[in-house]
């Protein structure tokens, strides 16, 4: 039951993009088509789940016993960066199309505030290993849902009669604002 609560919390209530406002760069950058959005969501979810595992191990078996609190950010971000490099090589090999479509935004998963943010929150919340895994999975799926929602809307937006200066990125931000207002309705669910 506890795990389910964490999962739903991460996906809807504290959705990383629309409620906690982390990971906005890829959210705005990659949400032009649903395929790239799904690719980005999947890549980020993979990185999040693996990071959840590694950062938990590192925190409770390296940082805590040796008392190196100041190393927390660099160590976490180093793990995340290596995972992203791994994903980049994997995508470069298996699906070059998606690799080129993601372009600059693939390396930017490293600095995706949601990934580092969620690992810090998981550590501060003193989650157990399983809990932080579920939390990572929930965060990733929440991120993907938000990305797909936005991509779906933006694909329609291209043909909507939007005032010229607002077209493209301007309206995307306003839509994101409305989306996050809607998601704040989930507050208090958990």
């Amino acid at each position: 039951m506890e795990l389910f609560l964490i999962f739903i919390g991460a996906v809807f209530v504290n959705n990383f993009v629309l409620v906690r406002f982390l990971g906005i760069c890829p959210f705005m950058g990659v949400s032009k088509q649903t395929e790239t959005a799904l690719g980005m969501g999947a890549a980020t979810t993979f990185v999040m789940v693996v990071t959840a595992a590694l950062t938990w191990l590192l925190q409770w078996y390296v940082l805590e016993p040796f008392g190196l609190p100041f190393l927390q950010t660099p160590v976490f971000i180093l793990v995340i960066a290596s995972m992203v490099q791994l994903v980049e090589m994997f995508l470069h090999k298996t699906s070059p199309g998606l690799y080129r479509a993601l372009g600059i935004y693939l390396p930017l998963i490293t600095t995706n505030c949601a990934v580092l943010g969620f690992s810090l929150i998981a550590v501060q919340g003193a989650y157990s290993f399983i809990q932080s895994l579920i939390f990572g999975l929930g965060a990733g799926i929440g991120f993907t849902i938000a990305l797909m929602l936005m991509a779906g809307i933006r694909e329609e937006l291209r043909f909507a009669d939007v005032p010229k200066p607002l077209a493209g990125t301007g309206i995307a931000f306003i839509i994101a604002g409305l989306l996050s207002l809607a998601f704040s309705g989930f507050a208090g669910l958990v």
Partner: protein, 196 residues
């Protein structure tokens, strides 16, 4: 082969350099930061304990939730509360101040509560740091809200809406302050009694 060796060496060296630099800077600034924080805490204690001239940290005590506020009776993890004793010019113990922490909207809200030694009433309350939304949650810093806590003792119930009216539009922040006050009040009072 040298390509992969080069990869390992470069990354390892850069990581090592970063580890070294960080730890060196941490050690060097650690002392100064602690110094700063102590002086900062001291100035807050003087603020909440009027008339206090000297401050002596009384160590920390485990903090437990004294009264169960129905809305926020979520499982609260243990945090340690820092306690300070304030002495006036004649070096007589005036009272004590303890640090309370509550879950705010944007993150943890840390406050310092000054309590009179004899009457056990709250003298004053200062917000140490918070990440509440400016313009809304940040109104907990205003005296009008904080002064409502004055005069309350350990046994008086402190709940937003009943004893203290919270800030409109910032109930989460107001409740965080209330919980921060309750948390650690009993242990601080007990620790102060023991030290007398």
């Amino acid at each position: 082969m040298n390509e992969s060796v080069r990869m390992i060496v470069v990354l390892a060296v850069i990581a090592m350099v970063s580890g070294g630099v960080l730890s060196f800077v941490y050690d060097w600034t650690g002392a100064i930061i602690a110094e700063n924080q102590l002086r900062q805490m001291e100035s807050s204690v003087f603020e909440v304990l009027p008339g206090a001239v000297r401050v002596e940290p009384l160590g920390t005590a485990p903090s437990t939730l004294v009264q169960d506020d129905p809305e926020t009776s979520r499982e609260v993890e243990q945090t340690t509360t820092q306690i300070f004793v304030g002495f006036d010019a004649q070096d007589k113990a005036l009272g004590y101040a303890f640090v309370g922490e509550g879950p705010g909207y944007g993150g943890a809200v840390r406050i310092l509560v000054g309590v009179d030694g004899e009457s056990g009433e709250i003298l004053n309350l200062a917000v140490l740091n918070h990440a509440e939304t400016p313009g809304l949650g940040s109104k907990i810093e205003e005296a009008s809200f904080r002064n409502q806590f004055k005069g309350k003792t350990l046994d008086d119930p402190i709940a937003i809406g009943r004893d203290i009216d919270g800030i409109s539009g910032a109930t989460v922040s107001s409740r965080a302050v209330a919980e921060a006050v309750r948390r650690g009040f009993a242990d601080a009072a007990a620790a102060y009694e023991r030290s007398r």
